[in-house]
């Protein structure tokens, strides 16, 4: 078999060296009744690369790839163009097949990259320190809540109603087991987020307020108001961002007073991938909170000859040292996705990121303008970056399916995200990125007009 280098001759020689007569002798400690005697039921024998590739290609072709349709989905996962060089780099065997850099002398490639990544994320978020990445945005969001609990020693969490519902569910799920109390609401279907309502829910028992920016409907909030209110009650402000490209154009959460900024980094370098692996970003504004942070951190130091080098550090927070007293049980980051992010961000640079953001926003404005001309379409947002909400006067889930049948991936219906909430059925999230062409926008507008006639 192509992945197994031992020949039968090798196996024989090795058994002889070990001093046993057969492979079964090495499995003597497995009780007879636990041994699987036959093959795995239904699993065929090993297959050629060609046959497996054919099978997987057949499955792949059963999906409608975003490139093959006018595509307007967002809601926490965005389709951006990824330069070919990003994939080239992440396929370098030295990055792809390395492990966690526990032996820093022979892992400076990964470590320096992580140090650069941490700096890029911190700057993008307007924070002092970012960690070396986490699973994804939703789990990073939960880790932020858990960290706020540790920092404030309080348990009451105020979630904005316009936080991505999957993120809110993750927080709710995990909080059940840690005894945090979660206060939240459904999104207010207004042109602006309900800041007053949110601020009104902050009290002296509140550990943190969690706000998404831009929020699930694409709207932006003046975070400094919320920060002020939270800080006045001794609570932390946690800001969640699911579209990092926006931060090339809009003020960072950090500069508006957010204490912990977390988010999904998938937009930069990672791709859609049907939801994973993605890239959790996690940063704190104030360096004093570093020791309460979860996740890996890479730090600068020197080697025995005084040369600059990098190591994983502050690991006394982590599970392999602290065991049950760790700040998180996490022991993986999203290393290769962090690399993809960092390479893409390096290619963009500040100039490219700003251009990318401008272009996204400009195209989204063009799309919004065009779509509101379709009879029956109303724009909800008073503010948006590259994603906005329209109301279409009919069940948007049905509409999405209808358009999918025509080969148009029209957006995400709120009904899909909030299956149990009423009054959101006619709302559709429409995301527009640099991959959207003017022609795509026109095709959507025309199809909407037909469907809503």
């Amino acid at each position: 078999m192509r992945y197994l280098p031992l020949t039968d001759t090798d196996r024989g020689e090795m058994l002889a060296k070990i001093g046993v007569s057969s492979i079964d002798d090495l499995f003597v400690d497995v009780p007879e009744e636990a041994r699987l005697t036959g093959p795995i039921e239904g699993l065929p024998l090993h297959a050629s690369e060609m046959a497996v590739e054919k099978h997987m290609r057949r499955l792949s072709k059963k999906n409608l790839a975003a490139a093959d349709a006018p595509f307007f989905l967002g809601a926490g996962a965005y389709r951006h163009h990824i330069p070919a060089s990003v994939d080239h780099i992440i396929q370098r065997g030295e990055f792809l097949t390395a492990y966690t850099p526990y032996q820093p002398e022979i892992a400076q490639g990964t470590l320096q990259m992580l140090f650069e990544f941490q700096t890029q994320v911190a700057r993008l978020y307007g924070c002092a320190v970012a960690n070396a990445s986490m699973y994804d945005g939703s789990t990073a969001c939960w880790e932020a809540v858990a960290m706020a609990h540790r920092v404030t020693k309080r348990k009451r969490v105020v979630l904005s109603g316009a936080l991505h519902p999957h993120y809110a569910e993750v927080v709710r799920t995990m909080a059940k087991f840690t005894d945090d109390e979660i206060a939240d609401a459904r999104p207010s279907m207004q042109p602006d987020p309900d800041l007053e309502g949110l601020i009104g829910r902050i009290d002296d028992a509140t550990s943190c307020v969690v706000v998404q920016y831009p929020d699930i409907l694409g709207r932006l909030s003046d975070l400094s108001q919320i920060a002020e209110a939270a800080h006045a009650k001794g609570a932390l402000l946690v800001v969640v961002n699911t579209e990092p490209v926006a931060l090339g154009m809009v003020k960072s959460p950090g500069e508006q007073g957010a204490d912990i900024v977390v988010g999904e980094g998938q937009s930069i370098g990672v791709g859609l991938q049907f939801g994973g692996p993605y890239l959790g970003l996690f940063a704190v504004r104030d360096p004093k909170h570093v020791r309460q942070m979860p996740g890996r951190l890479c730090g600068e130091t020197v080697d025995a000859e005084g040369k600059r080098g990098f190591v994983l550090t502050l690991s006394t927070r982590e599970q392999h040292i602290r065991r049950e007293k760790a700040t998180s049980n996490i022991c993986t980051n999203s290393g290769l996705c962090a690399l993809a992010f960092s390479v893409h961000m390096t290619l963009l640079g500040e100039k490219g990121l700003r251009q990318l953001a401008s272009w996204n926003h400009s195209l989204a404005c063009t799309a919004a303008e065009r779509l509101v001309k379709v009879p029956g379409v109303e724009l909800l947002n008073a503010t948006f970056f590259n994603e906005f909400t329209i109301r279409v006067g009919r069940d948007a889930r049905e509409l999405v399916r209808l358009l999918a049948d025509k080969g148009i991936l029209a957006g995400v219906s709120l009904g899909r995200l909030y299956p149990d909430s009423e009054g959101l059925d006619d709302a559709l999230l429409v995301a527009v990125t640099e991959t959207t062409s003017h022609e795509d926008i026109e095709v959507l507008a025309v199809a909407l007009k037909e469907a809503l006639a």
Binding site: Y3, L4, K17, I18, A34, L36, L43, H46, H55, M56, L59, K61, N63, L64, L73, R79, P83, S85, I89, A98, Y99, T100, E105, A107, R123, Y135, D136, E169, T173, F177, E264, F274, P277, C298, E300, T301, A304, K307, G309, T313, S315, R323, N329, C331, T332, G335, L348, G349, K351, L353, L356, H361, S362, C365, E369, F384, R401, A404, D405, L409
Partner: protein
């Protein structure tokens, strides 16, 4: 030549990405286009990010060179044997990488209408099916993002199952040799953690365990094969005892590679086990992630799994269950309402890893997977028996090891430690083994070669390992300063922790 940081190389004006010149790439908030939606532009102007962000750019040639040069400071499986015990650093087939990049997998959105992602759902179902078959379990939660996330999933299932009965148990038992994630996970889920002692031969002490079981014990977390590299002979008896006491058995699947295709944990009474797709099923480690940790569940725990969830229905077919379909599904198949403990992450899990793992399983097939386990165990025993005359193998007499061989620093001279030996191996051209784990052995060294090493490769490694061991036993002072030939000498970890520098900043003028 030392490689500078991107912050030292790049600047705010350079970019490695071009945009259409005519388009709105120089627009700023608030004045993009003339429009009927003036209000938006007026309002957006307030959010304009005016200050410098501080992100340097590099052209494509500089970028490729920077990362290519950085990459060469890494050790990797592609360069040599990577004997990290318990991490299963096996070869990552390149077909898997090719498949994961097929547009139908890489370029689909998690919230596309189901009709447009039938193939993606089939991949999840097909992989779920084989994971269930390989482990002899009932259902599988596919969404956990990594091993530790999977542990949490399993423990939350256990907690949910107890709570559903109104049984508020407080304690999880964990062997002292467990991975650090085990106690951390149990604590994170609100449990108290108590140790289970080991026998002198390196296995769980069944009698001690039985003695501790009782109405306050929610379950045990066991690693099998265990972190001493041994198969827990009494696994079935342990499970029976735990079940008899009303608890559940969690099995840490980190070491599944040793038994895949040979032993089904479900047959040993396990209730929940995570599977590290990057260990057993060869998805790339990527310098620390992403992982993927699907959790297989017994029939008892299946109703409590997180959504989305995959389970076998009455007719034997495996189906994906999401929030919307959960009720109908569980009424039909769990004889009652599904009592999912909730959602662990946005979306469906690590799809990019699922495609790779499925490709791996189909490539190996039934015969290949069994051979994987056999060769992994054979290679580990070959190392064990090639070293034990020279290096202390504390459980060498406890029978064959499974996929990893455990050694200790007993007999080192001149105050040399396991760390010194490890750094010495770097100078021989190897990544060291896992060191100081498990904690039950002094100066532990856990060596896992995996099945994708050739005999030639093992023989070379053994020669180097013996050479460094001889130096350590002889108290060779030179080892204290090793490595000499790596991109860096020993790094000052104390300084890094005491005065943390976690982001680059402009040097003061």
């Amino acid at each position: 030549l030392e490689e500078p940081l991107i912050f030292e190389l790049g600047n705010a004006e350079t970019t490695g990405v071009d945009f259409p010149i005519e388009d709105g790439t120089n627009a700023s908030l608030g004045n993009v286009v003339e429009t009927v939606i003036d209000e938006v532009f007026y309002r957006m102007a307030a959010f304009d990010r005016r200050d410098s962000i501080g992100l340097p750019g590099l052209s494509e040639p500089e970028t490729i060179r920077h990362y290519t040069r950085l990459s060469r400071q890494n050790y990797a499986i592609d360069l040599g044997l990577f004997p990290l015990g318990s991490c299963t650093m096996k070869h990552n087939p390149r077909l898997n990488e090719k498949v994961a990049r097929m547009p139908g997998f890489a370029d689909v959105h998690p919230l596309q209408p189901v009709e447009t992602v039938r193939g993606a759902l089939e991949v999840i179902n097909e992989l779920a099916h084989w994971l269930i078959e390989l482990t002899g379990m009932h259902g599988v939660a596919m969404s956990p993002k990594a091993g530790a996330h999977g542990e949490l999933c399993g423990i939350l299932c256990i907690r949910a199952a107890h709570e559903a009965r109104g049984d508020a148990r407080k304690v999880i038992l964990v062997p002292e040799s467990a991975h650090g994630t085990n106690p951390a996970t149990a604590a994170f889920a609100g449990y108290e953690v108590e140790d289970i002692p080991a026998t002198a031969e390196g296995r769980v002490d069944l009698e001690a365990l039985k003695a501790r079981l009782g109405p306050d014990v929610a379950g045990v977390m066991i690693t099998n094969p265990n972190t001493c590299g041994l198969f827990e002979r009494d696994m079935k008896a342990i499970s029976d005892a735990v079940h008899a006491a009303g608890g559940y058995v969690y099995c840490d699947g980190a070491n599944f590679n040793a038994i895949v295709g040979k032993v089904r944990p479900g047959d040993l009474g396990v209730d929940a086990m995570h599977i590290n797709l990057h260990k057993t099923f060869s998805t790339p480690h990527g310098g620390g992630g992403p992982g993927s940790g699907p959790v297989v569940l017994s029939e008892a725990l299946s109703p409590f799994g997180p959504l989305p969830y995959t389970a076998r229905t009455k007719d034997g077919v495996v189906h994906l269950v999401e929030e919307e379909t959960a009720d109908a599904f569980s009424e039909e198949h769990f004889a009652g309402k599904m009592q999912s403990f909730g959602r662990m992450t946005a979306f469906h899990g690590q799809m990019g890893m699922f495609t790779r793992a499925l490709t791996y399983i189909l490539s190996h097939g039934a015969d290949g997977l069994k051979q994987v386990a056999e060769d992994a165990v054979l290679n580990a025993n070959y190392i064990l028996r090639s070293m034990e005359d020279l290096l202390d193998a504390p459980f060498g007499a406890s029978g064959p090891c499974m996929h990893e061989a455990l050694f200790s620093d007993a007999g080192f001279g001149g105050g040399l430690s396991t760390l010194d030996l490890a750094k010495g191996l770097i100078d021989e051209g190897y990544h060291p083994m896992t060191v100081y784990f498990p904690l039950v052995v002094h100066g532990a060294m856990l060596v896992e070669p995996t099945e994708t090493e050739s005999k030639h490769s093992l023989d070379q490694f053994i020669a180097a390992f013996r050479h460094v061991t001889e130096r350590a036993k002889a108290g060779d002072e030179g080892l204290k300063q090793a490595p000499y030939y790596a991109p860096r000498r020993r790094l000052d970890e104390t300084q890094a922790a005491r005065k943390p520098v976690l982001a680059w900043s402009e040097p003061e003028a």
